[in-house]
Amino acid sequence: MLRHVTQLLTRSVTTLVLVLLAAFALTRIAYRDPATMLAPRNAGQEGIDAVARALRLDDPWYLQLKHYLFRGPDIQGAPMGLVNWPPALGYSFRQNTPVTELILSKVPVTASLALGALVIWMTLSLVFGVEAARREGTAIDHGLSALAYVALSLPTFLTGMLLSYFLFFTLSTHGIYLFPSSGYVPLTENPFEWARHLLLPWLTLAIAEIGIFQRVVRGSMLEVLGTDFIRTARAKGLSEQVVHYRHALKAALNPVITLGGLELAVIMGGAIVTETIFGLDGVGRLAVNAALEGDFPVVIGTTVFAAAVFVTCSFIVDIATKLREPLRT
């Protein structure tokens, strides 16, 4: 186990380092004349020169990289490099904020979005999946799998638009204001408004995921239901409810956990489409706007952030499923 963990850890860290290097290279190649792009909008030649100096843009690339990692631009005497304390991912001259701070300020929005959607999609997928497996071949099973197909075939941006059209626009023309069309209210400020503002985005993400997960749960359940261990449970005289939801589901959960962790990681790294449609100011929007404007310290920062979330989640998922292994029949 320990050996496995060390191997996994090495691999994860290598992945992150590679992502950082690739993101750095990509942005340096992709954006021409970076100093002008990075400088604040109304900056004169002096401001542009200052940015070029702060990022050592005139140096060869390996010196730029070294500078980026080990020192970073000095902002009021504080280095903004990754290998300093506190570690930072550079500085956005456009927004006059350290990149790390910028990302961390957007995390609550994206995390609320991702975790709420996770709760909805997991609950519904587990119930739908188990019920479909229980009634394999019946009309309910076919109906549920048809629903899963429809959900699976709706691109996220379409689901989002349809939801906001029917549940926001149509209702509001009838004078019913159930959901706001966009915006975000922090959980700590007003939990009710927080949920009300996030419900449509949650549904948008959840619908797509249910289409995937319902089928995964069903498939995994069917596999488990055919094993001796379930026959034993039934022979012991346990009720069907207990057999399905306690015994079988527990054993069928591994693929669901693996996939769930990865999907969650992708959304946590920035749910760009959903955030854009519902005007949520999350990590995804930050990343896209930065990429469109050419604010590349932020592009590198958000890329590394997304990769870090992904790598961490896959690490946790891997360990969790390994630990659960004795449960597998």
């Binding site: 290598t14 992945t15 429809v150 075939s153 995937i212 999907e263 760009i272 489409v273 990343a287 592009v299």
Partner: protein
């Protein structure tokens, strides 16, 4: 977004005897409800894409032609469905039906090459690392990890910025860039799948036997490995195709894929949303939206049916 969910087709496929000959495969497909439905939808979609220019001639509207006098009313609101504009017009006075058909064309023109390119690259890398093993295998594994943890859309945006020449005009056609971007992310799934298959095959008795008999590497590759890997990979191509189509639509929806005035289902939907005109002329949105949904649903149903038929033990 390339998906992480599609489970690789099991190696079990190899041990079963799937219907290899064309006619039997077709009969089996027609026996599966999902495959039948999918196949008809796919045929319909391909026909729609092929007949786009024909319809354009028939109704006399080009895909990018604007008919401001006839298609927009006095206040600039597009007309609804009529005998001249079958699905109404869009905010610029263009024919929604013709644009939807051309958009369907773009979906296929991006989705099919992108998935195919990914399949070719992924299979070569996967089979090579499965056969050679050792350091090469480890390096490719690490590379795949890296690509998988890269956020798709942000990278796509940076690459599109890279494509902008000094004068602000794209250097190569955005169509090509979108294809390359989608393939650059999708090949990893094919590589993982074909590597897994190759490693399993390598330990099978018939490959051992060939090695014992002194078979050359080339023989093992072409006679033992590829014939068993390719069918599975091709099925996975069908699974991955709808995901590539959605990826193109999403990029275009966000304004970074296919650029207006070239119609793509994604940028048409974005237009409808941005101008809010779909609230008075719903077909402006519904045309491309239904088309996209039907395309993706059709390919999903077809590929899932194909898997049912070829891999009866799977889901």
């Amino acid at each position: 977004m390339p998906d992480l969910w599609t489970e690789p087709v099991g190696v079990d496929t190899l041990t079963d005897t799937p219907p290899r000959n064309g006619r039997r495969l077709f009969t089996a497909l027609m026996g599966d409800r999902s495959a039948r439905l999918g196949l008809w939808t796919v045929v319909l979609v391909i026909l729609a894409a092929l007949t786009a220019p024909l319809v354009a001639v028939l109704v006399g509207h080009g895909a990018t032609e604007q008919f401001r006098e006839t298609a927009l009313d006095a206040s600039g609101i597009p007309v609804g469905p009529s005998s001249t504009f079958w699905l109404g017009a869009d905010g610029e006075g263009r024919d929604v039906l013709v644009r939807t058909l051309y958009g369907t064309r773009i979906s296929l023109l991006v989705g099919i090459p992108a998935t195919t390119l990914a399949m070719v690259i992924g299979t070569i890398v996967g089979v090579a690392s499965g056969l050679t093993g050792g350091i090469f295998d480890r390096v490719t594994g690490q590379m795949i990890d890296m690509v998988l943890s890269f956020p798709f859309i942000v990278t796509a945006l940076s690459l599109l910025a890279l494509n902008r020449g000094p004068d602000g005009q794209p250097v190569v056609s955005p169509l090509v860039v979108v294809i390359v971007i989608i393939a650059a992310f999708t090949w990893t799934y094919f590589a993982r799948l074909s590597r897994g298959l190759t490693v399993t095959l390598r330990s099978r008795p018939f490959v051992d036997a060939a090695v014992t008999l002194g078979a050359k590497r080339r023989w093992i590759l072409f006679q033992e490995v590829l014939p068993n890997v390719l069918p599975v990979v091709v099925v996975y191509w069908a699974v991955q195709l709808p995901a590539s189509i959605v990826a193109e639509a999403t990029l275009s929806f966000l304004g970074v894929g296919i650029q207006a005035p070239t119609p793509s289902l994604g940028n048409m939907i974005a237009d409808a949303q941005r101008t809010s005109l779909y609230q008075v002329q719903p077909w402006y949105l519904l045309g491309p939206a239904i088309a996209l949904f039907v395309i993706v649903l059709g390919f999903n149903a077809f590929s899932s049916g194909l898997r049912n038929v070829l891999d009866p033990k799977g889901r």
